[in-house]
């Protein structure tokens, strides 16, 4: 019945929505930033544990739609073990994948994040996918104040 939506709602997304990874609080987090999408009410808190410039642990709390939950869940998995520079590169690539003009974007560069490439066909849903990454961007820049997608 929802054949048209297969690019947007891939099975991986349903899986992460049902069982979000790293859905917990890091009590002694080095970075903690809140992200908010006022359009739909999605809220998340991102926690990072750092060793020098390496992200040793990442987790989140909050509630949102399947796209935003899957996006933040996948993100916390992928950034673990990455340096700040590597995470920043991923942020830029993810941004390009979901909002960029390049139709031949190399999906291999972003690994399993590629399951979220479908949102670019749904402008109303792009912010659901990018909220997590904008929150990460703020955490990498060591901003304390909550960020908003608006």
């Amino acid at each position: 019945m929802f054949d048209d939506l297969r690019d947007l709602y891939q099975e991986v997304i349903f899986d992460h929505n049902r069982n979000p990874r790293n859905f917990r609080i890091i009590e002694d987090a080095d970075r903690k930033v809140e992200g908010f999408n006022p359009l739909c009410g999605d809220r998340l808190t991102l926690y990072l544990k750092m060793a020098g410039n390496v992200i040793t642990d990442a987790s989140f709390q909050g509630s949102g739609c399947a796209i935003s939950t899957a996006s933040v869940s996948l993100m916390t998995e992928i950034v673990k073990g990455k340096t700040e520079q590597e995470a920043d590169t991923l942020f830029k690539q993810f941004h390009e994948m979901t909002t960029g003009k390049d139709e031949h974007f190399n999906l291999e560069a972003v690994g399993k994040l590629a399951v979220l490439a479908g949102v670019r066909e749904y402008p109303a849903r792009v912010k659901c996918a990018t909220l997590a990454w904008h929150t990460l961007d703020a955490a990498l820049k060591n901003q304390q104040e909550a960020i908003s997608t608006e």
Binding site: F2, D4, L5, Y9, R18, G41, C65, A66, Y122
Partner: protein, 406 residues
């Protein structure tokens, strides 16, 4: 009058649109209604045959344009049974109408320590203008609570009224819950304490026959686009004596009688509140929308919509994991709901792929979302052209997406 919904649907060209290859099922009427051909034609006709600036013109087109524009005012007056054309102020929407009252009546009559009473089910447009006024004046905003069904707790509302209350501003019908407030009783208890009442009729106007004199409300506001009319049109009704006593809203052309550099004499009602060239063609389109509704009859429309709401509610209640938000005894054609573990935005996107337009979000009523402890709801809202078959399509879609989400 008999009601033939299939015939009605022929009047709305957009209903023939295909959305993602499917028949459009338009259930977002609480956000805005689609337009009948007669409204679209009326705007084309004005610009093609009758258009010039209104008022003061001596040439033929200006006279024609003025006649049609003022004719629309009379249609609005008759539609809500106001006592006089002078009580009908054209604005761009219900939001502007409330802001107008806040910044004129409010500034003139509401001082530090005074109180304004609203309810917990208000749209942001009946919250924020008062908060702004309170910030400017030091007045206090009081909020009457609602119960779990989404009904005003009348006794608690009544207790909020005291000798400091300067205005009661309440929604006639809630956009997020569908609740129809007991406005007659609200006005009676407020008037017993000499407190004027503003009714936000943005949602009520296409569903409920409004008689401002029978209600005895002091202000009534609504938007044209929710009444099958054009966007950018709205109405502020105010009792003449109140409007006469209020200072003007914006300064400019049309709202003056005489201007020198030392002083200005303001125009009479309703022009005192209509500075600048008004939205001529769209107001004439609003008049055409009222003609269209009158040709069907508000009572017939209300009965059809009550049937749709009843049908949709029964079907929704049978879906496991669906929770209806807003179960007031008195309710208009709005079905707000949440699904267990499925976010409203996912519901909205999935239904859109089936051609179904609903709204997902906070519906500009964040305090209502907080009250029910949900980030958002999905909302199906019905209009005169909707059918039971469309509700079947909606409910099948909801059941399918619950299955897909697992």
């Amino acid at each position: 009058m008999t009601f033939d919904v299939e015939k009605i649907r022929q009047d709305f060209p957009i209903l023939k649109e295909k959305i993602r290859g499917k028949d459009l099922v338009y259930l977002d009427n609480a956000a805005t209604c689609q337009k009948p051909q007669s409204v679209i034609d009326s705007i084309v006709h004005v610009y093609s045959h009758d258009y010039a600036n209104v008022h003061r013109g001596v040439h033929t087109l200006s006279v024609r344009s003025t006649d049609k524009f003022e004719g629309a005012r009379t249609k609005v007056k008759d539609f809500i049974n106001a006592a006089s054309d002078k009580e009908i102020i054209f604005v761009k929407g219900a939001t502007e109408a409330i802001n107008l009252v806040a910044q004129t009546f409010g500034k003139a009559n509401i001082k530090a320590g005074d109180e304004i009473v609203i309810t917990a089910m208000e749209h942001h447009s009946n919250i924020v203008p008062w908060q702004m006024l309170c910030e400017q004046t030091g007045a206090i905003l009081k909020v009457a609570p609602i119960n779990q069904a989404g009904e005003l707790i009348f006794a608690e509302f009544e207790q909020l009224l005291n000798d400091k209350t300067r205005l009661v501003s309440v929604v006639h019908m809630s956009n997020a819950l569908g609740t129809i407030n007991p406005v007659k009783a609200i006005i009676e208890v407020a008037h017993a304490k000499n407190i004027p009442v503003l009714l936000d009729g943005a949602q009520a106007i296409p569903h409920i026959q409004v008689d401002v004199q029978a209600l005895d409300c002091d202000f009534y506001v609504f938007s044209g686009h929710k009444l099958y009319g054009p966007t950018g049109t709205g109405v502020l009704y105010g009792k003449q004596a109140l409007l006469e006593a209020m200072p003007p809203y914006q300064g400019g052309g049309d709202m003056i009688r005489k201007v020198t550099f030392t002083e200005t004499e303001y125009n009479t009602l309703p022009y005192k509140f209509e500075a600048g060239t008004p939205n001529i063609a769209d107001v004439i389109g609003l008049g055409a929308a009222i003609d269209y509704i009158n040709s069907i009859g508000m009572d017939v429309i209300a009965a059809h919509e009550a049937d749709l709401l009843h049908y949709a509610t029964e079907k929704a209640q049978a879906i496991k994991g669906l929770r209806i938000i807003g179960e007031a005894e008195e309710k208009g054609a709005i079905l707000s709901f949440v699904l267990d573990k499925i976010h409203p935005h996912d519901i909205g996107t999935m239904l859109d792929s089936l051609g179904i337009a609903i709204r997902a979000g906070h519906h500009c009523a964040m305090p209502v979302m907080d009250f029910y402890n949900v980030p958002a709801t999905a909302r199906a809202s019905f209009g005169l052209y909707n059918t039971r078959q469309e509700i079947d399509v909606l409910m099948n879609g909801i059941e399918s997406l619950i299955e897909v989400f697992g």
